[in-house]
């Protein structure tokens, strides 16, 4: 934003002041990933012999194969949970945001405040009651139950995102559409939704990461065959007997993180753009 000033030469020293800290911090951020990657393609012998950053003498993909072997099955589970949960919570959040900004009614602000508290409750608080409720609903241990849980506790955030975004959308659009004869859903579908691209990206990315990476709900509310990948990863990494196979651990960790990483690398730009578009207005 601060453009180069005329008359002030872009001194190399200044550029260095900018670039050096950036690169240094980038290394700090990148290091664990590099270490994980390197470790995941080394044999255990090499890991014991070498150091964090020593390059593998022989590339081995056996750890990856092993990790895939143990966790591959849960990949589908995670997707089965994440996709509907993200879709539903985003959709509901969008509707909530729409109503809370464009169809305000008495108490709508209070309602929003109520929903927002949901962002902040420590999840341990609701662990047991939720279990009971899921049991009563007949959803205990099912994918559906997990989806429900993630939708409920994701709603607060998606509503917040959409609400803050829609506040900046002129009310006149809705008024104009009402005069044009459009009803509630038509307005949402034809007018508001097409504008929501940036914030949908934010919401989807946020929810996708949160749900994909969730461990607590996953471990507590899943049963054997509906376990999400984080639980499988935990089972793999966190066992206390047997030889620690760091290479497999790292491969498994990377494997579990792959979808979210891909999402971030592909959509990271839109994430920042979406935030700029209004998601963070204080």
């Amino acid at each position: 934003m601060v453009e180069s000033m005329p008359g002030v030469k872009q001194r190399p020293l200044m550029r260095a002041v900018v670039y050096v800290p950036l690169i240094l911090t980038a290394i700090y951020f990148l290091l664990p990933l590099i270490v994980m990657l390197l470790t995941s393609v080394k044999t255990m012998d090499e890991i014991r012999a070498g150091n964090l950053l020593s390059l593998p003498a022989t590339l081995t993909f056996e750890p990856w194969a092993k990790a895939w072997d143990k966790m591959g099955g849960t990949f589908t589970n995670s997707f089965m949970i994440v996709v509907p949960a993200v879709a539903i919570s985003t959709a509901v959040g969008a509707f909530n945001g729409f109503v809370l900004t464009k169809w305000r009614f008495r108490g709508s602000e209070l309602l929003f405040g109520m929903l927002l508290v949901g962002c902040f409750i420590p999840f341990q608080v609701i662990l047991l009651p939720m279990a009971r409720t899921l049991g009563l609903l007949g959803l205990a241990g099912t994918t559906g139950g997990l989806i429900l849980v993630h939708v409920i506790y994701g709603l607060a955030f998606t509503t917040l995102f959409f609400r803050n975004f829609y506040v900046a959308v002129p009310d006149e659009l809705v008024k104009a559409a009402r005069i044009d004869g459009a009803g509630f859903f038509t307005i949402f579908w034809r007018i508001i939704l097409p504008l929501s691209g940036p914030i949908i990206v934010v919401s989807v990315i946020w929810q996708f990461t949160q749900i994909w990476n969730d461990f607590l709900f996953g471990v507590v509310y899943s049963s054997g065959e509906t376990q999400p990948i984080t639980v499988a990863l935990n089972n793999l990494v966190n066992t206390s007997t047997g030889v620690k196979e760091y290479n497999v651990d790292m491969a498994a960790a990377l494997l579990a993180a792959l979808p979210t990483l891909v999402v971030y690398i592909l959509a990271g730009k839109h994430f920042v753009a979406g935030l700029t578009a209004g998601a963070v207005k204080g």
Binding site: K175, A176, R178, G181, T186, R190, I191, P194, L195
Partner: protein
Amino acid sequence: MSALTIRNVKKSFGNTHILKGINLSIEAGRFLTLVGPSGCGKSTLLNIIAGLESPSSGEILIGDRNVNQLSPKDRDIAMVFQSYALYPNMNVRKNILFGLEIRKVPKAEQAAIVDRIARMLQIENLLDRKPAQLSGGQRQRVAMGRALARDPKLFLFDEPLSNLDAKLRVSMRAEIKQLHQRLKTTIVYVTHDQIEAMTLGDYIAVLNNGEVQQFGTPDAIYNDPANRFVADFIGSPPMNFIPCEVVGSSSQGFGVKMTHEGGDFVLEASGDLKPWLGKHVVLGIRPEQITHVVTSRLDERGVSGHACPVHLCEPTGPDTLVTTSINQTKVLARVRPDTAGTPGQSMDLMFDMNKAVFFDPTTGERLRFQLLKAA
């Protein structure tokens, strides 16, 4: 039959009373402009007519029908918003057609309508653009097109020109005027620009403080203001308000006494000011009624020339505004540029009292007098 009737409409937001009982009514095919300072409730009233907000009390009739309970889409109105409110995700064509689509107008008919509108507004070549790719004036026309595509009972325009620059404004104003003359629909038009109000409206309603200050033809509003607020609000540069004493004038009539550095003079009033003789009133006289001397007009009744000190000359192009000071009040005169005097010296100014008005100095209400017969 009146096309729109507003009956004692009140509106409050919490404890703030925005509209305090509005009564208005216009016949079908007429053009009503609502004017008033920013924040006086013009948009609120329009929104109430459209059904976008509901009045706290009072009723809205379109035709003969009370529409209070009707939702906007059932009121058969079209509206142009101050901010255009074009649907950013649709191109111009879609924007224009949206209302028709929703009302399930047949495709063929839709195409015909969009063609007609585009031709009328000269936006044929813009039909496939998105709003973001349009200039301000073009957007304005699309917003207009969206309203015109339908054939509603009532058009509502909320300051449709306020975002345009002066140049574009003038030409759009003319277009709207022609449009109305051609279509003969009923229009309610909000503006805070008095020139628009004057040139466009069959009627003008001047709003202030949530009340209708005056409702009448442009001519009545301009020349026969109901009170000082209306007189001041309408007219640019604004009317001069000169506090002055009522005296008996030479010609058996009455006059008001003017004093400036150069001396005194009396301006003859056309009305019977007897009740106020010897008291103070406020004379309202518009800048264009104080002008350079046109000799041939000096014999007209109520017209007289007086030398006044020139404080400031502001050439605006077509005219020059000359500031003088009378009764310790700054007074503006509008003269032909080549006749303007020099600051510091004095020039002869011709006062035309025929359209002058008087106000109560305390209440600001208009003082009305019987016309004196010509001497």
